[in-house]
C-alpha cells in the first residue's frame, strides 16, 4: 500500500516535471531559433539604414524609430488618465457601487482583443475624427489598450504606500492633494514605472491594433499626422508578403530583443519594489 502510494507520487512528479520541461524547451526553442537565424543579419547598418525596395534590402531604421515613438506617445497619453484613475480609486473615494463599476469597466477593457481596438481606432480616430492613418491615431488607440494595465499597477503601487506616510503628511498640515502629489506618488513611483514598462512592451509587440490606425508608411514621421510603421508591423509585412525572409528574421530578432529588454527592466523593477515593500 505504502509502496504503491510512493510509486504513484513518483510517476506523477515525473509526468509533471516532463510537462514542465517540454513547455520550457519549446519556449526556449522559439527564442533560440529566432535569435540564431536573425542576429547574423543584424548589423549597425541594418539598424540605422533606411530600407530599400519595400524592405527587400537595406535596414529597418524608420521602423525602429516608429517602435520607439509610437509606444512612448501612447504611454504619455495613457499615463495621466491611468494614474489619475488609480489616485481617485485609492485616495479619493470609498469602495462602493461606483468603484465596482469602474473596476468592472477596466477589467472588460483589458479583455478586448487587439483587433477590436484596431477596428475601433480605424472607425473613430482615423475616419470620424479625420486623423487618417497617423502616429496620433495609433497612439490614442494603443493608449486605450494599455489603460487597464496602467490603472491596475498604479493602484496597487499607491495602495502599498504605508498609511503612516499619509498620516505624517496630514499632521504637518498638508492637504489631501499635497499629500498625494508630494508623498504618495513619489513613493509609488517604482510601481507606476513597472506598469509603464509593461505597457511599452505590449505596444512594441502589437500588430493588429497598430496596422489599422498608424498605417504602414515606411518613413520617419515628421508630424503627429504622419503614418508610421513599427518593427512588429514591418516584420509582419515582410514575412506575410514574403518580401524578404532574410530581413524578416533580422527584424524578428531585433523585435524579440527589444521586448525582452523592456520586460526584463519592468520585471526587475517590480521585484525591487516588492522587496522594498516587504522590508
Amino acid at each position: 500500500m505504502r509502496v504503491r502510494r510512493q510509486l504513484e507520487q513518483a510517476v506523477a512528479v515525473a509526468a509533471l516535471g516532463g510537462a514542465t520541461l517540454l513547455a520550457v524547451v519549446v519556449l526556449i526553442f522559439i527564442l533560440v531559433f529566432v535569435l540564431s537565424k536573425g542576429l547574423r543579419i543584424v548589423t549597425l547598418d541594418f539598424l540605422f539604414q533606411a530600407p530599400r525596395d519595400m524592405g527587400r534590402a537595406g535596414g529597418i531604421f524608420p521602423a525602429l524609430v516608429g517602435s520607439i515613438i509610437l509606444p512612448l506617445a501612447a504611454v504619455c497619453i495613457a499615463l495621466p488618465a491611468g494614474v489619475g484613475t488609480a489616485v481617485y480609486l485609492a485616495e479619493y473615494t470609498a469602495e462602493g457601487r461606483l468603484t465596482r463599476l469602474i473596476r468592472t469597466g477596466t477589467d472588460c477593457l483589458a479583455g478586448i482583443p487587439s483587433i477590436l481596438f484596431g477596428l475601433f481606432g480605424f472607425i473613430f480616430f482615423v475616419t470620424v475624427m479625420g486623423m487618417g492613418w497617423s502616429l496620433l491615431a495609433g497612439a490614442l488607440t494603443l493608449a486605450i489598450m494599455v489603460l487597464p494595465t496602467i490603472i491596475r499597477t498604479s493602484e496597487e503601487a499607491i495602495r502599498s504606500v504605508p498609511r503612516s506616510y499619509r498620516e505624517v503628511s496630514y499632521s504637518l498640515g498638508a492637504t489631501r492633494w499635497e499629500t498625494v502629489w508630494k508623498v504618495v506618488l513619489p513613493s509609488a513611483l517604482p510601481g507606476i514605472v513597472t506598469g509603464v514598462m509593461l505597457s511599452v512592451g505590449r505596444c512594441v509587440g502589437e500588430t493588429a491594433a497598430v496596422i489599422f490606425t498608424a498605417g504602414v508608411a515606411l518613413r520617419i514621421p515628421m508630424s503627429a499626422f504622419d503614418s508610421v510603421r513599427t518593427l512588429a508591423v514591418h516584420f509582419y509585412i515582410l514575412a506575410r508578403e514574403g518580401i524578404s525572409m532574410e530581413n524578416a528574421y533580422g527584424t524578428a530578432a531585433v523585435l524579440v530583443l527589444a521586448v525582452l529588454l523592456v520586460n526584463t527592466v519592468s520585471y526587475g523593477l517590480m521585484h525591487r519594489f516588492i522587496a522594498r515593500r516587504e522590508r
Partner: protein, 283 residues
C-alpha cells in the same frame, strides 16, 4: 484659496476616473453602430447560420468562421492548458527552489514574445512538419492550435502559479499530517483549493486565443470552410476582419463590423466567466 484648489483637483480626478469606462462605452457603441444595422438589414440568422462568404456576390455568412474560432481556441486549450497547469503545479509544489526561481521569471518574460513571432515560427517550422508528415496543406487547424497553445502557455502557467501560491500552507500541512503523500496532498487538497484561480487562468488564456489575429492569419490557412479534419485550413473571425478590412467598402465593410460584433459578444461572455471564477476564488 487652497480649499477651492482641493475641490478642483477632486472634481478633475472624478472625471478622469471614468476614462476606462468611457473608452469601453465608446468602443462598444462604435463597433455596434457600424455592425448592428447590417445585421438587421441582412438578417442576423442568415449572417450567423450561413457559411458562404462571398463579398463579390453579396453573400455574408460567418458560421464557418465562428466554428473555426471555436475549434482553434479549443485546440489551443487542449495544447496549452494541461502543459501550463502541469508546469505550474511542478514549479510551485515539487521543483527545487532554485529551479522555480530561475524558471518562473523566465516564463513571465516569454509571455511578452510578440504574437507575430509565434506565427512566424508556425509558418517556418511547424507547418512544413505537418505538411510532410501528416499531409494536408500544413497551414491548418492543427498548426494554429499548437501555435496558439504555446502562445497562451506562459499566461496560463504564471496565473496558475499565483493561484497555487495563494493556497495557505496549513492546507498542505494538514493533508501531510493525515498521512497523505505530497502528491496526494496536491491533487486532493491544493488543486481543489486553487481551482477557481486555475479556471480563471485557462479562461484568460482562451480569451487571448479567441482574440489573436496576426499569428492566426499566418498559420491557419484562411480558407472559409467548416473544417472536417484538423489538417484542414480555416479562417477565424479575427482573421476575416484583418484580412479584408484594408479593401472593404459599403456592405462588405459593414459585414466586417458585424463580424466584430460577434467576436465582441464571444469575448465578453468569456470575460464574464473568468471574472466570475476569480470572484468565487476571492471569496
Amino acid at each position: 484659496m487652497k480649499w477651492s484648489g482641493e475641490h478642483a483637483v477632486a472634481a478633475v480626478l472624478r472625471v478622469i476616473a471614468f476614462s476606462s469606462l468611457a473608452s469601453l462605452l465608446l468602443i462598444t457603441i462604435f463597433i455596434f453602430k457600424e455592425g448592428v444595422p447590417f445585421l438587421f438589414s441582412h438578417g442576423a440568422a442568415h449572417f450567423l447560420l450561413s457559411s458562404r462568404w462571398d463579398p463579390m456576390a453579396g453573400e455574408f455568412g460567418v458560421l464557418a468562421m465562428i466554428v473555426a474560432s471555436l475549434v482553434v481556441t479549443f485546440g489551443a486549450m487542449v495544447v496549452g492548458a494541461p502543459l501550463g497547469i502541469a508546469g505550474a503545479v511542478f514549479l510551485n509544489e515539487f521543483a527545487p527552489r532554485w529551479v522555480a526561481r530561475v524558471l518562473k521569471p523566465a516564463i513571465e518574460l516569454l509571455a511578452g514574445i510578440p504574437s507575430v513571432v509565434f506565427g512566424f515560427i508556425g509558418v517556418m517550422v511547424l507547418a512544413p512538419l505537418i505538411r510532410n508528415h501528416l499531409g494536408g496543406p500544413g497551414l491548418s487547424v492543427l498548426c494554429a492550435s499548437v501555435i496558439l497553445g504555446v502562445m497562451i502557455l506562459p499566461t496560463v502557467m504564471s496565473i496558475s502559479i499565483d493561484a497555487l501560491a495563494s493556497v495557505p500552507n496549513s492546507f498542505r500541512e494538514g493533508a501531510l499530517a493525515l498521512g497523505a503523500t505530497r502528491w496526494q496532498s496536491v491533487h486532493m487538497v491544493v488543486l481543489k483549493a486553487a481551482r477557481s484561480g486555475i479556471v480563471a487562468a485557462v479562461v484568460l488564456g482562451l480569451g487571448r486565443a479567441v482574440g489573436e489575429t496576426m499569428a492566426v492569419i499566418m498559420v491557419a490557412g484562411n480558407t472559409v470552410r467548416i473544417p472536417i479534419s484538423i489538417l484542414d485550413p480555416v479562417r477565424t473571425l479575427t482573421a476575416n476582419i484583418a484580412i479584408e478590412m484594408g479593401h472593404a467598402t459599403g456592405a462588405h465593410r459593414d459585414a466586417l463590423f458585424a463580424t466584430g460584433v460577434v467576436l465582441f459578444l464571444i469575448i465578453m461572455a468569456l470575460n464574464g466567466i473568468a471574472l466570475g471564477a476569480m470572484k468565487r476564488g476571492a471569496r
